[in-house]
Amino acid sequence: MSILVYTESENGKLKKAALEVVSYAKAVADQMGTTVTAVAVNADNTETLGNYGASKVLLVKDESLNVFNAQKYAAILEGAAKTEGAKVVVVSASANSKYVAPLLAVGLDAGYVSNVVEAPSSVSPFTVKHSAFTNKAFANTEITTEVKIVGISNNSFGLVESGGSASVEDFSPSIPDSGVTVESVDKATDKVSIADAEIVVSGGRGLKGPENWGMIEELAEVLGAATACSKPVSDLGWRPHGEHVGQTGKPVASNLYIAVGISGAIQHLAGINSSKVKVVINTDPEAPFFKAADYGVVGDAFEVVPKLIEKLKAFKAANA
């Protein structure tokens, strides 16, 4: 018996979320008196997972799996869970993990809880805390099946280095054909995605029009951040739909969220609330966002943002 964890990679490189899920799995393994086995597909440098708590890595090498396929990946994880006799499987909150986990849950007859924010409060019964009502609340949920799947929220647990080492074994499970074929992928490779970002810079209707997004993009670039927007901004076509965050858009769980010209409507806040530190820049001191933020500047975005960019550049130069 071990704790199985799915460590995601892109172009061979392990994602930061992979290190976080392994750190989490290690905490669960310690609670249950067992070890962590990681499953990776076409990833390089998987030995580094040892440093975050994996004792063993099952590495699948297969060119045809370079493009993610939920059904095939579910079969890999199912095969690994069965080989290892895993009682707990840990996945992330990425779009791919959320795609594969329900398929895996049926394959393993496992109960699945997503958006988990802490290590289990108890392993017997197995109880985890997760966000619900789009971050307006939390639920403590018991998983009652023998095998359990836990999906953890981004940046909720953090990276914990344990200084161990992992043995890497080749793993070649049988992989079924899939009825879903990826024809093309359209992805900006030079930009940080909202899901992976530690910092997100978001703009609202207060920015007046799409022509004013240059400074938002520049601010994001200085910070190595992803860009996002409020719902009306994407509905108006000022920004692509993929940037819409909030209750009906993408959730944001970054370390820092900077909201520029966003009023802070309940639906917006619900989706970004689990970000750790929130900064608001808004001309209206009565804007509801000030009640939800950690730091605020009452001021005109067109003056404050360029100043912030300048100060951050100076800060970066001084700390380089």
Partner: protein
């Protein structure tokens, strides 16, 4: 084509979330219920298939009698028949199990569900359902076209999108993009009148055990007051983010 749209009945997005019975139950007091926003996009796309390509559109909810007004609203938007599986929605697995029976009994070609429900945010029902009925599955779906038994879908991925080809039977987890916000249908008077005469079939549940159980709810810890920084003193903001919040 036979289409089934899964409708989850959820608190309106403006709802204040409170709990009762020692924080073990969601407090429905004063809460307005709506069609889950992701399902609304799916339902509108289903109406497009019905009108442009010819399809029948049924809607289904797993839940108690209190969800019927939500199903009637879906009928008023244009669905042909509503089905309510008469059992409380205990967890994602149990709901998927009930839906799987409806899908198998009804021989649906295309099942349109939402990417996630905004109450429990499980992001699990559509995938579990697809696995249970051996259908193809595409989630975070922002575009769907069907030609005979072939389908083309676009899926939102982290940082972009991908186009996939697949075939019926198919389950999708849909979201905004399937249709635009401005194309969402609002029930009109005629739709509401017609909905009263459309069938809303109540079916008894099959055996399905939940795999998870909510023990208690919690609200987030109250937030401390915001620290205001003067617009002429942005150095201070950088300093706070670096030294106090330690995020840059």
């Amino acid at each position: 084509m036979k289409i089934l749209v899964c409708i989850s009945h959820v608190p309106d997005t403006t709802s204040k979330i409170n709990f009762t019975d020692g924080d073990t139950k969601f407090d429905t007091n004063g809460v307005q219920y709506v069609i889950n926003p992701n399902d609304e996009f799916g339902l509108t796309r289903a109406m497009w298939f019905k009108e442009k390509q010819g399809a029948s559109v049924d809607v289904v909810n797993v839940g108690g009698a209190e969800t019927e007004p939500t199903l009637r609203k879906a009928l008023a938007i244009g669905a042909d028949t509503a089905i309510r599986v008469n059992t409380p929605a205990t967890d994602g697995y149990a709901v998927a199990k009930q839906l799987a029976k409806v899908v198998n009994d009804g021989g649906y070609d295309l099942v349109i569900a939402g990417r996630e429900s905004i109450d429990y945010n499980g992001t699990m029902v559509p995938g579990m359902l697809a696995a249970m009925v051996n259908a193809n599955f595409v989630t975070n779906c922002i575009s769907l076209e069907v030609d005979g038994t072939n389908a083309k879908a676009v899926r939102e991925i982290d940082g972009g999108k991908e186009t996939v080809s697949t075939s019926l039977p198919l389950v999708i987890g849909g979201q905004k993009g399937l249709v635009e916000e401005s194309d969402l249908r609002i029930p009109n008077m005629r739709g509401i009148m017609m909905a009263r005469k459309k069938p809303l079939n109540v079916v008894e549940p099959t055996d399905a055990n939940a795999e998870t159980k909510v023990v208690s709810f919690e609200k987030p810890a109250p937030k401390g007051a915001v620290k205001l920084v003067d617009a002429d003193n942005i150095d201070e903001l950088v300093n706070l983010l670096h030294n106090e919040a330690k995020v840059i």
